[in-house]
């Protein structure tokens, strides 16, 4: 009966949409993600506990990064008695629009301790630069 209440995915999410319209994501709570912009790259961190590398798909197309996949259920003996089952998510998909000014060939991803970190380098021409005055 316990339904996971996704606090950041709801009202906070709405506020985010309102205050930071620069980054658009699909309005869906799972997985929870942090999106940060750095000088030379974007970093997207998603929480994916129990997801195996081979069950994860990362795609970048038309400026949109999509993280999707499946969390396979763990094995249990047939006579197991389930007292509590809150880890319910099986399929998931999330899209984040980062714009086209990125170096799509150099996107890298790492999965560790149930956290996926995707680094999306900005295109050379989109990086900030200082112009020297002669």
């Amino acid at each position: 009966m316990l339904v996971r209440f996704d606090y950041p995915g709801t009202l906070e999410g709405l506020l985010d949409e309102f205050f930071a319209p620069a980054v658009q994501t699909s309005f869906q709570g799972y997985p929870a993600i942090d999106v940060a912009e750095h000088e030379n790259e974007w970093t997207v961190v998603a929480e994916l506990p129990g997801v195996k590398k081979e069950d994860l798909k990362i795609k970048f197309e038309n400026g949109v990064l999509t993280i999707s996949g499946e969390r396979k259920p763990y094995e249990l003996p047939q006579d197991a008695r389930i007292w509590l089952n809150e880890m319910r998510v099986r399929q998931f998909s999330r899209s984040i629009s980062l714009g086209a000014e990125v170096d799509a060939d150099r996107i890298s991803a790492e999965l560790q301790n149930g956290m996926l970190k995707v680094v999306v380098p900005k295109a050379e021409y989109a990086r900030p630069r200082t112009i020297e005055v002669k």
Partner: protein, 156 residues
């Protein structure tokens, strides 16, 4: 009386927090009701966030799984006190992540705590915990007297 500048964001955050706690309290009441209060979650009001938990009972042991992505295992503490299992800890934000301009923060940080009353006694010294792929798995073997016994009854 001084004038305090109204901050809509702060007020809304407080409001969602209340809502969050209320939701949890409702869940807790319903849970206890349906379970007959055997496995009560006593965590209400102590956490900033609530990790999802699975609890399964096998013939010889209980298996408790907790979703803790990005939590360092040094920041997790597991205790068992008169059949009450408590998992508490803290999820810290990565140092490198503190820099940068955030467009979206959905992950929850800070302390968490969950407690469960186990229906039967367990072997205190045989409890095992493993952290892998962001999931903490705690195995608690049942004490001998709590295991199901098969008794053969001869029919005369």
């Amino acid at each position: 009386m001084s004038l305090i500048r109204w901050n809509p964001t702060r007020e809304l955050t407080g409001w969602t927090n209340d809502l969050f706690n209320m939701q949890r309290e409702i869940n807790r009441v319903f849970d206890n009701f349906f379970r007959g209060g055997v496995l009560a979650d006593e965590s209400f009001g102590l956490s900033y966030w609530t990790p999802a938990v699975d609890i399964t009972e096998l013939d010889n042991e209980y298996v408790v799984k907790v979703e803790l992505p990005g939590v360092s295992k040094d920041d997790v503490k597991i205790t068992l006190e008169s059949n009450i299992l408590t998992i508490r800890g803290e999820k810290k934000q990565e140092k490198e992540a503190k820099e940068g301009n955030y467009h979206r923060i959905e992950r929850s940080y800070g302390s968490f705590q969950r407690s469960f009353t186990l229906p039967t006694t367990v072997k205190n010294d045989k409890i095992d915990a493993v952290y892998k792929d962001g999931i903490l798995t705690i195995t608690l073997p049942k004490a001998e007297e709590a295991k199901p016994k098969q008794i053969e009854v001869k029919v005369k």
